[in-house]
Structure formats: C-alpha cells, structure tokens
Symmetry: C2
Amino acid sequence: MREGRSVGRAKQDLIREVAREMNYQPNRAAQSLAKGKTDAVALSVRLDSTCDLPPHYHEIVGALTFTLNDWGLHLMLVQTNEDPVPTLEMLARARTCDAVIVTDMMVDDVRPGLLRDLGMPFLIRGSAPISGVPAIGMDNFAVGYKAMEFLRRLGHRRILFHNIGRTFMSGFKRHEGFCAASVEFDLGETVRYEDIVYKEDDMYNLTRRVMREADPPTAIFAADEMAALGVLRALAELGIAVPDQVSVLTCLNARFMRRVSPRLSFINTRQHEVATEAGRLLGRMLRGEPIEARQTFLLPILEENGSCAPPPR
Amino acid sequence: MREGRSVGRAKQDLIREVAREMNYQPNRAAQSLAKGKTDAVALSVRLDSTCDLPPHYHEIVGALTFTLNDWGLHLMLVQTNEDPVPTLEMLARARTCDAVIVTDMMVDDVRPGLLRDLGMPFLIRGSAPISGVPAIGMDNFAVGYKAMEFLRRLGHRRILFHNIGRTFMSGFKRHEGFCAASVEFDLGETVRYEDIVYKEDDMYNLTRRVMREADPPTAIFAADEMAALGVLRALAELGIAVPDQVSVLTCLNARFMRRVSPRLSFINTRQHEVATEAGRLLGRMLRGEPIEARQTFLLPILEENGSCAPPPR
DNA sequence: CTGTTAGCGCGTTCAG
DNA sequence: CTGAACGCGCTAACAG
C-alpha cells in the first residue's frame, strides 16, 4: 500500500528528526552487546616503566588514530609488557575489541598464534614469519640490502652496519639483506655488524670505540634515529667530519628526524604510510570486505641529504 | 551457621577455580552495560590529515597508557579535529568512555563547558581558565618568566622570545610570564616577541631574517623542540656559533631532544610527569576517591647544557 | 547466606 | 509494514 509506505517513511523521518533534536546517541555498551562487536581496535604496545616509546610509534599512533577514525573505529592502546599472553588473553576473552594490531614482531613471537587460537582477528604491522596472516610492513630485507648497496656504490668497503636486534622480525630481515649484499659485493671481511646495542648511549660508545681502532669504518649505518644521534654525538666530539671523513646513513622512522642538523641521508621506512595502510586494511577486514593481498610490504626509499659521500682517499 | 559459611566458601572457591580453569573472562560490553561504566578513558587528540602529532604527545601517550593500565583503565585516542563539539557530544552521549582527558587547552576552549554540560567527567592536562575543574599541568607562567630571567642574568638584553600561540592556555600563560619578566628586568625595548610561527620552517626563516637585522638578538628562546631545530639549522647555515655568538634556550617536551647535538639548554616542561600525574588523578576520580588538590601545576626545571652563555662583547 | 530474577539499552526476530 | 517480545552477558537487588 502506498499509504502504508508513506506513513512508514514519514514516521521514520519524524522519529529520526526527533532523535536528532533530542541528541539521541545509541549507548555504545548496549550496542556492542547486542551486535557482538565493539568497533574498537587495540594496538599492542610494549612499554616499560620509563614509558619511552620508540620513535616510530609517534607515526604509528598518529596515523592509526586518524585512519581508523574514518572507519568509525576507535583506537585503544594496550600495554603488553614482557609477557603479552595474559593481557591479550583477557582482551580477547572479554571481547574488549574487534581486532588487535600487532607491532614490533619478534621472530618467535607468540602473539599471532595466540590470537588465532583465541579467535581474535589481528593484523601484523610488520613482517609475519608465517604466511597467511594479514600483515602490512616495510620490506626490511631491502632496507638492509639497500643500505649496503648504496654505501658500496659510493666506494665504501669498511662499513659499520648497526642493526636492531635480530630477534625482531625487522632486524632479522635486515640482517638477511645485509648478508646478501655483503656476499654480492664481497664485503665479508671489511664490514662490521652490530646488533646488540639499542640506545643512544650504546651507539655513542660503540662509535667512539670503533673510530679509534685501526682501519676505522668510513661509513656507518645506524638502525634508527636514536642510534644515529649517538653516532653524530660521538663523531662531533671526536672532531670527525660528516661526510668528509665518515659517511652516516640511518633510517627515517619519525619525521622529526628530518629537522635535525646536520641533515642525514636516510632510508625512509615509511612508518606513516605503513600504519595508514594497516588501518585501512583493518577497516576493510572488520567490515567483512574481501582483502586483495594478505601481505603487503612497502619498499624503502633512499633519501640523500648530504651525509654520505665517497670515502676519504 | 558454620556449615553454611564453609559450604559457601568452598563453593565460591570451586566456582572461581573452575572459572579460572575455563579461562572465563567477563564480557566487557555486558559488564559495561550492567555497571554503567566502561573503564575506558579518551584522550582528545587534535589531528589533521598529516597525522603529525606534536612532540609532547610522544610523552603523553606513553605515560598515560602505562599509568592508566595500573588502574585497570584503557586509553582510547579520539581524534578531535577543528571542531571538537560533535565528536565529544557523540562520545559523551554514547557513553563510550568514563572520562575525557583534555589536552592543548585553548584560552576560549569550549571543551570544558561542553563536557560539563554533557555530564562527562574530564580532566585538563594543562592549565584551566576556569577554577574548579580538575587540571594538572605545567606552570607556564614560570616557563616564560624563567626563560627571560635566566637569559637576563647571563647578561642578555636583546632576546628573541618565541612563543606557541597565545590562543593556547600554555602560550597565554607563558606570555604573561614573559611580560612580567620584561617589566621587572626593564627589557621592554630590547626584546622581541613572536608567537605566530609554529613550524620548524617558520622558525628557520624567522631566525635567518632576524639575525641579519641591525642589532640582532644575542639570545633566542624557542618554544619547543621543532622550533629549536629550526633555529639551530638557520644558525648553522649562517655560521653563527652557539653559544659564543648566540645563546639558544628551548623547552624539553619530548625526551629525544636530549640526544640532539649540539646539546641544548632547556626548560624541562616535565610532560612525562604531568601526564603520569594526570593518569593517577583520573584513576582516583573514577574510583570516587577524594582528590586533594583539584589543580596542580608542576614547576619547570631549568637544565643547562651549554647552549647559553653571556652575550659576546 | 544462598539462589533467583529483573533490568542495563540495543538489535533482531517474531507474530499481528 | 508495524509493533511487541526476546536475548545479548552481566550486575545487583531481591526474596527464600
């Protein structure tokens, strides 16, 4: 019946308008309970009592907050300290969120298996050791390889290659890229590999020590911005000029590093883009939309800013 | 009856154990609905499409995530762009969270009034223009005053004082501190005040321009780390030595800045401590515990790292 | 002290 | 096509 329909429509519109006028907003808890979904996504963050987030989180948090907002999803930060298991179990069993974003994957990370067993959808922001699980990250093999290739092409043979620990998937992959390049460019004997120092102080000390040895490196690759700052500080104190005496290359994770002088050449790991893509993929996953590629790895971009040059003669 | 009690206890224990064994975890949405609280706290974050969080968020997010965790509270990031009203209204009406943390207060900020009207508990991380609302922040009057006092004591009269906009509560207060010090030290004619530049590029350009004028400043106060990096870049390009020719003072909001060389002297705004205290206070508020002081303002701490010296003769 | 029941506010399904 | 009733999973208030 036309009247029936029109009455229905009119009534509907009226209700809607009144609701809007009364500023009605469905109660989120009730909606969650009834629909069985929370429209919330948890970001698993490793945090100790220093609360010192690594620089790349600066980009991740911003990009995810912004992107997920477009999908009507809320981002919640969940502290997963040394042992992520109890936290994630509670999270999943209480159905606190619809999905979890796993960052800083370890090679032997228990989180993917755990979340799968718990039936909690998840997405790895980074490299997944297992195929089949959705992951969006940086091609860290290429990061390691490109760093070496670039420095070698400039003429360097004595290279200090600093890596984040190999226990991280990203560090593991970078090491593989490093090894591949070392073999390809026959640098096995002249390069020095370090992956046990993480902090600025450690890298500062390492640089001081290494630069005083016989045949010091002519190029240093620092794994991230804090390490790079340590290198710069040590070199400045030793009066070693960049890039005239030593070339310095690092990774750009957080954008503030672009502004530090001396400007450094770096390999842009595109954290912002990776996180944005991760947010988008998660949005589609949770809407049940088909996702084309389960694993995507962006390629690093080398940006030269003058801190690398051929080695001194 | 003793038996009654013991049976009760035993049964209770049994239930609890079985529940634990079965990994029972109450459903969060159901719990929220029944109890009328969500155990979630929203951090209102201003974010445009660049997703470029100001440096101090790095400390805020880390500290809040960590601290709220101790209180069993989840932190959710909520994007409140230009107009925070619709977002906060939805948040409050849907009862998405138990409280909101308001950051980066503007002088004419609508958020406190709005949240009050909506019946949503909130806490200002920063200075509140209204008394009575709970707030924890930095004493920004003291920041402005101390910066001027310190530089004046070193002998400077020609000072470039850079401020974050006066539309922010923090900038407003800093300006007041700046004015008080200017009057007290009779610097009205020789200081230069700027609060319309925010980005590194702007500060870079401003510094270049100012340093070429007649009677350039002998000391520059940069309001935050990005501005300070702009100053350093300009000075480096102009070949102006720090602190021999120009003293540079800035604020420490994010800890990475400690690692940038040349090491800068700064006024530590203690973002990490402020945020931690804010988290604690909110935890107490939500538990209904009495809160002793409604408004707390930490004092800035001057840290000298060698970028300030008496002016050249 | 125990066991039962009535909501919490919404979505969905079922008769009318 | 409309309106009423049920259930989501839990808490709290209520009788027994």
